[in-house]
């Protein structure tokens, strides 16, 4: 790892693809598509970064350049002190990768066999392997299905296996491409909990792409949003939320189910559903306390809560603004 704590560095990186479009009956037109467009980004060791963007925004292309699968068209990439383009094999030893839809495991063999085979592939010392495996088996609660062939595992069990497989060789960085796709609520929560714990206890830097913004909200200290190949936002979840959605909502349950919409200075009633009313207010024009006291002065309130804008709303706003 580099001394200054920066573990991933992208300097003005672009990736272009040549595609052929049909033009006329036999002629093909050569079109250059820029999937990643002058991206500069650094990630510090130990960070947990959410990398999000709509389909085709350039997320996977970026991850593929960071893992050494793809070679950039221009710009500088350094990962764990190594140029992924030139030293793919060396880099592979220091990173772990989980592609949500593709397996790293041996399909027809018991799960435990895959772990043992990976020990040979990555040349992990036997003692280190045993202690890592014991840790992960207990953290991911894999003991009941270690002897089950991978093809017979449920998606949630398989994903836990994939996480373990990607971490057994003590990588400094873990890349996850859609790690929670298709998982049920319980499995998702377990995966998130595990990622947070290895990030904290082992200091593994984690970069994850996802469409499930709950992943980002629960896990990531930092959010990078990419669209049309460009980084359009980079910051903490809280700062991005307040920039794009500078409002909050006070939800009140009134005693009188047929009460008319309340009138509160600085706030607007967004929705009325029987006794429940949603009052949205801008953070910079009033406070939650002022809205609540005004409501309480007008009507008898049974219950109340204050909601932040949904992360999905925030991201929708970012995407629509950028396009």
């Amino acid at each position: 790892m580099s001394g200054d704590g920066i573990i991933i560095e992208l300097g003005d990186v672009s990736k272009e693809f040549v595609v052929y479009r049909r033009a006329g009956r036999l002629r093909r037109e050569r079109v250059v598509m820029r999937a990643v467009d002058h991206v500069s980004l650094t990630v510090g060791a130990g960070e947990l970064v959410g990398y999000i963007g709509p389909n085709g925004a350039g997320k996977s292309t970026t991850i593929k350049m960071l893992t050494g699968i793809l070679v950039p068209s221009s710009g500088l990439v350094r990962v764990a002190g190594v140029d992924p383009q030139r030293r793919r094999v060396e880099l592979a030893q220091r990173i772990g990768v989980v592609f949500g839809q593709r397996s790293q495991l041996w399909w027809d063999l018991p799960l435990i066999d895959s772990f043992d085979l990976l020990r040979h592939v990555y040349r992990v010392p036997a003692a280190r392997h045993a202690s890592n495996l014991a840790d992960f088996v207990s953290l991911l609660e894999m003991a009941p299905f270690l002897d089950t062939p991978v093809r017979s595992l449920s998606l949630g069990q398989r994903m836990r296996g994939e996480l373990c497989a990607a971490l057994l060789h003590d990588p400094a960085i873990l890349y996850l491409d859609e790690p929670t796709i298709g998982l049920d609520v319980v499995s998702k929560a377990r995966v998130r909990e595990f990622l947070a714990s290895i990030n904290a206890s082992r200091g593994v830097t984690i970069v994850l792409t996802t469409h499930d913004l709950a992943d980002v909200e629960r896990l990531c200290s930092r959010l990078v949003v990419i669209d049309h190949g460009r980084v359009i936002e980079d910051g903490t979840v809280a700062s991005i939320r307040s920039r794009y959605a500078g409002w909050r909502t006070v939800v009140v349950d009134l005693e009188d189910a047929s009460a008319p919409p309340l009138v509160v200075p600085g706030a607007t009633v967004e929705r009325v559903d029987g006794p429940r009313q949603w009052l949205r207010f801008a953070r910079d024009s009033t406070t939650a306390a002022a809205v609540v006291s005004s409501v309480v002065a007008q009507a008898r309130v049974l219950d109340l809560s204050i909601e932040d804008p949904d992360i999905d709303d925030v991201v929708t706003r970012i995407y629509t603004r950028s396009s």
């Binding site: 893992t67 050494g68 593709r102």
Partner: protein, 274 residues
């Protein structure tokens, strides 16, 4: 920080570990495994029967007796099927590319060729290898060859060089599928076609086929030229005597071309991603 390079012994061990995993996985479907091995053996056996039947009608084929053709067949077959068992599975690379699994190979600290060869290692294809060994053995027993050290060396060299040549044709050909997936069919005509061609004396073919098998895809070096020496026959092509010992040179040249094509293919994949 980085572990030292693997020694040959460690590579061999890793090969056994990974190929062994594939055999264990295949063994889960053991009925199919056993049936496949037997069928393969039977089919290639029929293949040879065809030559025997042919010799019922003619006593010589381009001047070669049945035992001599069997020797040629066995020599070529052993080399081809060793390559078939250990290397031919790399042709599955197009499947890996289309399904995106090729990316998974590239994030491991091993070359993709090594991973392809072990991931799909097919012991069940060994049935064909057994058949080729039998034919070669029977032919050698039937022929009255005066075994000198040089003759033994030429046979051993032919098998090793032949395996390298067939493997090179496979790898080089498969590398073309990085540019066009459809190239697979063309590649098959060179590998399987090369094997069929080398089972017969070169003299039965038209001149252009003979030249192609000597200079373009050097399959003739697998069996024909070494066999000429061992059997003490004249060359119908009229090439110099020394050609009979050139199998290793042909093998080295094909290996270099294959290696170059394969790395160019990987480079192409890594710049286009498909």
């Amino acid at each position: 920080m980085l572990p030292r390079r693997r020694t040959v012994r460690e590579w061999l061990h890793l090969y056994l570990v990974l190929a062994g995993a594939r055999v264990r996985a295949d063994w889960q479907y053991r009925t199919s495994f056993v049936l496949f091995t037997i069928t393969q053996f039977a089919i290639t056996f029929l293949d040879f029967l065809l030559i025997v039947v042919l010799f019922n009608r003619v006593s010589r084929l381009a001047g070669w007796s049945l035992a001599e053709v069997a020797f040629l067949y066995g020599l070529s077959g052993v080399a081809f099927f060793v390559a078939d068992v250990f290397v031919s599975q790399v042709e599955r690379v197009s499947v890996y590319v289309r399904s995106g699994r090729f990316d998974s190979l590239l994030v491991r600290p091993l070359g993709p060729l090594f991973q392809l060869a072990t991931d799909d290692f097919a012991l069940r294809r060994a049935g064909k290898l057994v058949q080729a060994c039998l034919v070669l053995g029977v032919a050698i027993a039937a022929l009255d060859i005066e075994w000198t050290l040089l003759r033994v060396a030429v046979v051993a060299m032919a098998i090793v060089a032949g395996t390298v040549i067939f493997s090179a044709v496979w790898i080089g050909g498969v590398a073309l599928t990085f540019w066009a997936v459809e190239a697979q069919e063309v590649v098959n005509s060179f590998t399987y076609g090369g094997n069929y061609a080398t089972q017969y004396p070169l003299g039965v073919f038209a001149a252009w086929v003979r030249h192609m098998l000597t200079f373009v895809v050097p399959a003739a070096f697998v069996s024909y030229y070494p066999a000429l020496y061992v059997l003490g026959r004249d060359d119908t092509l009229g090439l110099p005597q020394s050609v009979r010992f050139l199998s290793p040179v042909a093998a080295l040249a094909s290996a270099m071309v294959a290696r170059w094509l394969w790395s160019a293919g990987i480079r192409h994949y890594r710049s286009t991603g498909s």
